[in-house]
């Protein structure tokens, strides 16, 4: 009876052909780490569902956006959970996106006959990055407004059309109501619709062309038809092939589940991204981009200032062109990385670089900032009254806006608590009054009394004798 019903449903709703074409087919055996694509699809699903339900409340107007997110987070039943899931799924999506991209470069996933799959994947890559950016602009807190400003500034560097592009994105010469509606429309309608279509197309091509199999990685393949023959033989073979359902689905699903467990854990422990003060262009603030962009920000900070302004315009364009051209440049018969040395090297450098730059940006040792708190005195050290006054003046004159003492404070300039060669009294005094040419320090001649100067010099002299940390 049940079987008859099933047959009737699959016949009348045309499900048989879908089942045969997607689930019930032979594929080459895959490793667990081939589940990254499925994981991305799954995360996209989580993002679509949580996003849809947040849009029930979210108000895309500068007057209401911030408050509506606050409402979702604080008042709505389980709103914090839905927002948290959306936030962490988005972050993990970017992480998995890079994993997916790097893995395809490593195994040569862009090689014939999979160029189309790759090219659509490249578009998806940029679309997802755009989503991960526009998403956090909608929070409309200080991080959002300055992230928008920074991105706009990058666009403004485009030759000829820069300013027009800025006005176009912003919906006016200043950010306002039309800015947020634009960002909202891009984030919830324009890009998601395109993303959905391209994801379906991408998966459709994965079904048609399969994914790079172990056999393909072990031997040279010269033509697309040779690849097809090899793949088909492998898929049909008892040892080297498997049924897509349930074998492949189970393995891919396992990876997706593990990643989801991470998303869930982060949501339950850290919750959604905290809301910073509402977007405002008058108060002092220290915004920073979302963590998945740290590496890029760190890179910009490291580049010499002759290159950086152009780099931010050229890098995404060059990256796009390189990725688009990759399948047409690298036409060697080898896949995998046994006979291809450059992919592990390039990917290795990228991964190490991204991790290093992320940490660097997290620390941002280049940023100076006013701080009214004088540097702490190490335990066991007693300062003379003059040196103690000097310590207070050290903060009052903004020395500590750049100079750390024994590792405490901003790290822009020399740490007198950890200096290699001790400086003399005269040297310090002259330096404070008139720093040498080309040194990024203001001269204090004319605006520091002789007494204040002596006190600060005294403190710096003592700081040089502070017990070394570590």
């Amino acid at each position: 009876m049940a079987k008859r019903w099933r047959t009737w449903i699959s016949d009348r709703f045309g499900l048989r052909r879908v089942y045969e074409g997607t689930l019930n087919r032979r594929v080459a055996k895959s490793s667990w780490y081939y589940g990254d694509g499925a994981t991305l699809t799954f995360l996209l699903g989580v993002l679509v569902v949580t996003g849809m339900f947040m849009s029930l409340t979210y108000t895309p107007s500068p007057d209401g956006a911030y408050e509506s997110i606050r409402f979702i987070t604080e008042k709505q039943v389980l709103g914090w959970f839905v927002r948290g899931l959306h936030y962490w799924a988005a972050g993990m999506m970017v992480v998995m996106l890079f994993f997916h991209l790097f893995r395809q470069i490593l195994v040569g996933g862009y090689k014939f006959p999979r160029e189309g799959t790759w090219l659509i994947g490249v578009i998806l890559f940029f679309a997802i990055i755009l989503m991960s950016f526009t998403g956090y602009l909608l929070r409309w807190d200080e991080r959002s407004i300055y992230a928008l400003k920074v991105a706009q500034h990058m666009f403004s560097r485009l030759p000829w059309i820069g300013e027009s592009v800025v006005v176009f994105i912003q919906g006016g010469t200043e950010p306002g109501a039309t800015t947020l509606t634009r960002l909202y429309a891009v984030h919830v309608i324009f890009v998601p619709v395109l993303l959905g279509l391209f994801v379906i197309w991408h998966i459709y091509l994965v079904i048609i062309h399969g994914v790079t199999s172990q056999e393909e990685r072990n031997q040279p393949i010269y033509t697309a038809s040779q690849q097809r023959q090899l793949y088909r033989a492998q898929a049909r073979s008892r040892e080297k092939g498997e049924n897509f359902f349930p074998m492949t689905v189970f393995k891919s699903g396992l990876m997706a589940t593990i990643v989801f467990a991470i998303v869930l854990t982060l949501t339950l422990t850290l919750g959604p991204q905290r809301l910073y003060p509402e977007a405002d262009l008058t108060t002092i603030s220290r915004p920073i981009e979302e963590w998945w962009f740290y590496w890029y920000s760190g890179l910009i900070a490291l580049l010499p200032n002759t290159i950086a302004p152009w780099f931010v315009v050229i890098f995404p364009i060059v990256l796009f062109i390189i990725l688009i051209l990759l399948p047409f440049i690298d036409r060697s018969p080898w896949r995998g990385f046994k006979k291809r040395l450059w992919p592990p090297i390039v990917v290795g450098i990228c991964v190490i670089g991204i991790l290093y730059l992320t940490d660097l940006r997290r620390r941002s040792p280049w940023t100076g900032w006013p701080d009214s708190e004088p540097p702490p005195v190490p335990a066991g050290v007693v300062l003379s009254p003059e040196a103690e006054q000097g310590r207070q003046l050290f903060a009052q004159y903004g020395c500590n806006s750049c100079h750390p003492i024994s590792g405490h404070g901003r790290k822009v300039a020399v740490d007198f608590g950890q200096i290699e060669r001790r400086l003399s009294q005269d040297y310090i005094r002259d330096y404070i009054l008139q720093p040498p040419e080309g040194i990024a320090m203001p001269g204090y001649r004319g605006r520091m009394s002789a007494q204040d100067l002596e006190r600060i010099v005294e403190f710096v002299l003592v700081a040089q004798t502070f017990p070394r940390s570590q």
Binding site: Y146, Q152, V166, P287, P370, G398, S401, P442
Partner: protein
């Protein structure tokens, strides 16, 4: 012409014309902010002259006129240096590297950018970090003891 070819051409033409009738207006309306962009000077008051003591850096806000319907972000922060009785410098608060909001440090007499380490002098000149250009200065004037600036005297990103 064969009937088949004619039909093919008719379908393609009809399709393209229909698509254009829909596509051109929607693109036009999306481009509206660029097409409607106003130019010319736009002077706005930022406060009475006496609010800016001589020899000091003072924070000020300017109201940004916009014709949209939201009330927030109507004000923009500025730094004003009144170096002498007659001379006023009105700095944009946006770093010239990537528009992050700079802060004035009275202690060291420097501007700090929170993003990539830009540091500017009291005169707005770049001292350290990525910025190559000095801070943007608004055109300023004094009318009836009120300081006014021209909002359009700096680029949109300033």
């Amino acid at each position: 012409m064969e009937r088949r070819t004619f039909l093919q051409i008719a379908i393609a033409t009809g399709g393209l014309v229909t698509a254009a009738i829909v596509a051109i207006p929607v693109i036009g309306t999306a481009l509206s902010p660029v097409l409607r962009r106003e130019s010319g000077e736009l002077w706005q008051p930022i406060g009475a002259l006496e609010n800016f003591p001589i020899g000091q850096m003072t924070r000020a806000n300017v109201t940004v006129p916009r014709d949209d319907w939201s009330q927030t972000l109507r004000e923009k922060g500025l730094y004003v240096l009144r170096s002498s009785n007659a001379e006023l410098i009105v700095f944009s608060r946006n770093c010239t590297d990537l528009s992050c909001p700079i802060v004035w440090d009275e202690g060291s007499n420097c501007f700090f950018c929170p993003c990539h380490g830009g540091i500017f002098s009291r005169q707005g000149d770049p001292m350290k970090g990525p910025p190559k250009r000095a801070l943007y200065r608004y055109a300023a004037r004094v009318r009836n003891d009120t300081v006014e600036i021209d909002l359009r005297s700096v680029p949109p990103m300033a």
